[in-house]
Symmetry: C2
Subunit: 580 residues, 2 copies
């Protein structure tokens, strides 16, 4: 049945052998005390927590879901106790600033923690998964009074938080949202409106919930420039209940243990976070952290899908493999892991998973560099790269995770379609990551329109140059150099063409992001192969084989992306409804 | 909310304008009385039944599912009444032989009926969907006594039937199955064993259920050559209950209104159908019919996904489109159907859906030619083509349907993840079609190993020649000729190479099938474009635009398949478990 084993060996390969993170931390005063042993120990403990405490609640959470009665939400059995253990062990504060009670560990270590929690139980991890966003937003924008009152409990995880953005008519387009905020004489505001799809809007894990709410102050400009961000607690500082409540839970395809709430604010008291009408900027701080987090959900799902499918394929015996060892010539049937179609399926999963892990951890490390490196120019370059890589992590890694989950399901045959094996839950759960925190199509527009076209390709050129310089002098690298050049060339061409055709970048954005993701993973795999070339263990041999598999079978899709980008120069038909 | 409108206009385009089926029927005495008007009337009635009677039960079937109590299965509210109406209207007998009570309509018309039923309610259609398989098998192999006793009630639909193949340890590999059949003095057999994943193994739609069971007679050879096919009724001819029962219902990802049963046969009485130890041949008759039927499920799901996503995209207003009409320059936001990413999404769906419909209906028509054409050489060629096209229909159309369903879900954003809109059910329901009736990977092996390699590519060469000859003299056709040549050339190369490398066809089978499907749809689209070139209606304009879209954006994937087939010449790594 479904199980989760923390992939400690591969995590160590990526963090230590490939990315050499401990040496990088040593160059940053903030992380001077984090060495390889510390990080490894934290990661091992995180793996234990994920596999022993959280993973056993994954199936039960899916079966039970959440229930709403008289405005109170009950989470599945065990969720509350697991969350309390999580808080007691200090996990929420892992990457928070020591000045506000955090442990000050690097984001790259926090990324490992959240990958593992997501592997183990995506629904459960929806609750603490938003903590970091609220933390960043309060730290950067809240008044000293609000910070003093709320930040310590957010950092410790004693209070959980939400992001209240979406309304029924305003999902991708926050400019359309209508929730109102009326200023009060005491400097507070009264918020009124209905928010939907609020993860953890109500639950029984913590006594208070800190809602971060986007709303419009009376007479604010229309659109996104009239949005302000508010902190609206479930329980007021004096212990009374604020006038907000959960009026419904969504019946969802997956992550059923996560309470997705309809939240009604009925003159609820809140306080402005940051400047009036600058709420979107405050929210974007949260959303960027959240988007990398969603990319890590992709890695997490891809990991649990792969390891379960591999175990099943080794155990399940069906049909004779077309080529068999001499000793098995008379066996009735073989383990299906010997059948070429199953090997392709699993190798594709592995290549996307392990390659995706490199990209995600490297982006988390760039976040550390952007925030903590003593050299301003390093911080600046890292910041630029994070802005490019975040939408790629979010979209590419979650697209791949869903593809891998349903590929893993295919390995199980009919057994994959029933609940018992857990893999169909993985398919359902992983599906949401492609939608929320900005659909993957919106990530693609963010990358191409807002990041690449907006600065004439300057930041992207810098990234590609760095990627070229990092390529080792190997045979495999020779196959990736042309793809980095193709990416750069396609970008230059688009920059020229879109001057006379403003719709063009929108027509090709999805294929552009996929091209970028495929080439990035290729670059990572070539580096991994070079590192693995120095060792002959089965682990390193598999690394080299998988690198080659990626280049042979997965990288060629980049050519398809280029062909589609070229086709995108032509107008795209409008859709007409079929005649009745 | 989720709705189904029968796509009568496109069905008419494919059956009449493109495939010219009425003229083809006129050449077959069996269908001499079926003219365009008759077929159109039947199809319209079928559409009414699907949309008015079956579609309204789709969501409720998903919510309620089936329940088992004391061996009795209760289907969701309305399923039984709908089935009775289905029988009363004579739908089960549509394509059955008039000599045994059928209406003798072509398979191509029956295909339309089942596409529509599957669009409307896949779970409900699981019950009558297996009728045709049992019908074919009894007609071809049963003794006159058995035929007389069972065939009329199977044809009328008064009794539903099952295919009892799978056992827990024997799914794809039927050779491993263990259910035993003990011969009795009266010529009957006593069957004992446990079958799983039996669709409609028990239900409340009909008073009797005719189980077609694969089992092993004592002392039969091991493997598939020791399997025999039996008819085992739920209720004996004397009205007593046979000793078989449903001991469990699977909790599944989707098609929850379909009862998927664990069936225990405890010395149940059955009668041999066909020769002893030749059961697999009898079962394959059923399975081939079933495989085309599953391909039609793909078309059905793709249709309902597309039409619902299109309607939602037209209605939903979010963000400004990058290019807007002058009159809308001040509008707050646009219908999302104007956004390029959504147009790509929907055009891709439409291109795969309408192209897939051509392939499915043409295959159904070839089945008619193979069975009913007066000229033996026509029957022979058609039979060969059906054998090649059936696995392609099954795998390619269901892969595309699942891809389309989850693409449609993406159009809905967050609203696509919740139950209310019905699209997440479509994703869950459509997923099974890639697994059952032989996984899509097994279809690929069937195509390349058992059909193409087995006869040295002779049948395939014939098919490709026919496809080339049918291409019109148009600009688009010039773009497809090279792909037919590429397909043929890749085949010849594989035939050469696999002589010294018996694993090779297994390594490339999935990409080979996908290549075949992509080129087949391209050929169909080029013909459709040529037909549509003669008319200027919005419908025909959209056809031409979609044909071009297919060639620009979807056909290039064939190049990726070729690249992977080339890569497949190299050995494929074996999977090792990661070190602990």
């Amino acid at each position: 049945m479904w199980q989760y084993h923390p992939p400690l060996r591969d995590i160590q390969f990526v963090t230590e052998e490939l990315l050499n993170l401990p040496a990088q931390w040593a160059q940053m005063p903030s992380f001077a005390e984090v060495d390889a042993d510390t990080a490894r120990q934290v990661i091992e403990e995180a793996g234990k927590f994920a596999s022993e405490v959280i993973a056993p609640l994954n199936a039960v959470g899916d079966l039970q879901g959440c229930t709403l009665k008289d405005g109170q939400v009950t989470t599945p059995n065990g969720f509350r106790e697991a969350y309390q253990a999580f808080v007691q062990a200090g996990w929420p504060a892992l990457a928070c600033d020591p000045e506000v009670g955090g442990q000050g560990l690097p984001q790259s270590v926090n990324a490992v923690l959240h990958e593992m929690l997501n592997s183990a139980n995506h629904a459960w991890n929806m609750y603490p998964g938003l903590l970091h966003g609220a933390y960043e937003s309060l730290l950067a924008h809240a008044t000293p009074e609000l910070r003093a009152q709320y930040l310590p409990k957010v950092v410790s995880g004693e209070w959980l938080s939400t992001m209240c953005l979406t309304e029924a008519h305003a999902g991708s387009d926050l400019g359309l949202l209508k929730t109102r905020a009326e200023p009060q004489a005491d400097g507070s505001f009264r918020l009124s409106g209905t928010k939907i799809f609020i993860s953890g809007g109500e639950h029984d894990l913590t006594d208070n919930i800190v809602h971060m709410v986007l709303a419009r102050i009376a007479d604010a400009p229309a659109g996104t420039k009239g949005l302000s961000l508010f902190l609206v607690p479930k329980v007021m500082p004096d212990g009374t209940r604020n006038t907000l409540r959960c009026d419904g839970l969504e019946k969802k395809m997956g992550i059923k243990g996560s309470a997705t709430c309809v939240m009604n604010f009925e003159g609820a008291t809140g306080w402005l976070v940051g400047e009036a009408n600058r709420g979107l900027a405050g929210m974007f701080v949260m959303m960027n952290a959240a988007r990398l987090h969603v990319g890590l959900q992709g890695v997490g799902h891809a990991e649990s899908a792969y390891q379960n499918a591999l175990a099943y394929a080794q155990e399940r015996v069906q049909m004779r493999a077309p080529v068999r060892e001499a000793t098995r010539q008379n066996a009735e049937a073989d383990s299906i892991v010997l059948h070429p179609a199953v090997r392709h399926n699993l190798l594709r999963q592995r290549a996307l998973l392990e390659g995706g892990r490199v990209l995600a951890y490297e982006t988390a490390h760039l976040l550390d560099l952007a925030e903590r490196h003593p050299d301003e120019s390093v911080r600046h370059v890292a910041h630029d790269e994070v802005s490019l890589l975040t939408p790629i992590c979010k979209a590419f890694l979650t697209d791949n995770a869903f593809a891998s989950a349903q590929a893993a399901q295919q390995v199980y045959g009919g057994h994959g379609y029933i609940h018992d094996h857990g893999i169909e839950q993985c398919v359902r759960d992983s599906r949401i990551s492609r939608i929320y925190e900005g659909t993957n199509e919106i990530q693609a527009i963010d990358l191409l329109v807002r990041k690449v076209v907006a600065d004439g390709g300057v930041k992207l050129g810098g990234l590609i140059t760095r990627l070229q310089q990092e390529l080792p002098a190997t045979e495999l690298a020779e196959r990736v150099h042309p793809w980095l050049a193709n990416w750069q060339q396609a970008t230059q061409q688009l920059l020229q063409q879109c001057k006379g055709d403003p719709e063009l970048p929108y027509r090709v954005a999805d294929d552009y992001l996929r091209l970028a993701g495929l080439v990035l993973l290729a670059q990572g795999w070539v580096r991994a192969e070079a590192v693995a070339a120095h060792a002959s263990s089965p682990f390193h041999t598999a690394k080299r084989e998988t690198a080659r598999y990626y280049l042979d079978y997965l990288l060629p899709e980049a050519g398809l992306c280029l062909a589609r980008i070229r086709a995108g120069q032509n107008p795209l038909p409008q859709l007409h409804p079929p005649p009745p």
